[in-house]
Symmetry: C2
Subunit: 227 residues, 2 copies
């Protein structure tokens, strides 16, 4: 069985390679940064994970997950997102509070627990941040996300997620009325100043394109028609 630390390395590599569009491998420094450890520490661990056949890695080279490593990483991400959904749906946690606790809960070892939790939540497809929950059978579609910057003036989109999970960010956008599954209209754009005016729940605000880039809109899933 893997240690919590080893699990965290697999998860980090998964996020960097399988969940970033147009990326297929990751360097040692990048992995170290993701985990907030020094490159020397990550270097050691990568050698160890290679020995366990969980990653492909050669000295001075980039790393990728093996099939086995990817399967384990996805299980951890699945647990993380199911727990986030539980905290949000059942215990009334807010958008920005769930992540930190899920970081701990994702390491609980019990296949039965996660099965039952999934059923209890009604087989959810997305977590409270709009991220796809990997399925138990290992099925996982990478969802290409459109951001608020892709919405034209006068158009309305549905908020489906964010790419910044920091408390500061989540609280700020919450203050603007922005939340999952809420319609958001782009009133006007000021390209010269890199700002756009939006309306959510009848309330107007101005946000920078930098911030807009972290807000995902719509999803290639049709929700009004049928499931």
């Amino acid at each position: 069985m893997l240690s919590i630390t080893e699990e965290n390395y697999l998860k980090a590599l998964f996020r960097l390679t399988c969940e970033e569009v147009g990326k297929t491998d990751a360097g040692t420094n990048e992995i170290a940064a993701q985990l907030e450890v020094k490159p020397a520490t990550a270097s050691d661990m990568l050698r160890k994970l290679k020995e366990k056949k969980l990653i492909e890695y050669e000295k001075y080279g980039k790393s990728t997950l093996t099939r086995k490593g990817k399967k384990m990483a996805m299980e951890i991400v699945r647990k993380h997102r199911l727990w986030e959904t539980f905290l949000y749906e059942k215990l009334g946690f807010t958008w920005d509070e769930v992540h930190e606790v899920a970081e701990q809960l994702e390491h609980i070892q019990s296949p039965k627990l996660i099965d039952r939790l999934n059923a209890f939540l009604g087989n959810p497809k997305y977590d409270p941040h709009g991220d796809l929950i990997p399925r138990a059978d290992g099925e996982f579609k990478l969802v290409e996300k459109k951001t608020l910057n892709d919405i034209a003036e006068g158009e309305t989109g549905m908020v489906v997620g964010v790419s910044d999970n920091s408390s500061e960010f989540l609280q700020y956008v919450d203050g603007l009325g922005i939340a999952i599954n809420r319609p958001l209209k782009v009133i006007s754009r000021k390209p010269f100043d890199a700002i756009l005016e939006i309306e959510v729940k009848g309330k107007r605000s101005s946000i920078s394109t930098r911030l807009a880039d972290h807000i995902f809109i719509s999803r290639e899933i049709k929700k009004s028609t049928k499931a």
Copy 2:
């Protein structure tokens, strides 16, 4: 913040001193046995916990929890039992499955989580094994338990708990129809053979007095302890 290991030592000491009637302290070997480590290991840790003012301990002496240590131990036990209740009530785990997973869940750090979980479960007083759940304010009444061996022939009692949480034991008594909050009648006793005949849900079985000693009947408040 305490490590998981330190938390486990506090919990072990709590169980050995505050939850055993007529015991007020515990020896190093006893603590080591409870945690399944060698006495040498426990000896080291006891010194460390004394330094942190969580226990009273002198070389070659017995150990007890300080007020601070007891408060922390009770919080862990509270978390353990709330999680057991969650697994049993909400996720349909059986009596014998909850303990192992709760051993992991009890170490999750989030006061808000445990508050919300408690509310979600409707402020339960007892866990699925009939053990009292310590309250958030540190209130904890020690429940003196009467065993099946204290019930006379022809009398009926209510099953309120067990003192053996092993899977083997729980599955066996489950097979006899024995469960929490279920009436149980003692039909006859055979002291010569150390056996008694019982009836649960209309079904008769014979069990040894050795086994009967692990089944708690009725519930009487005897002594109360304050944090």
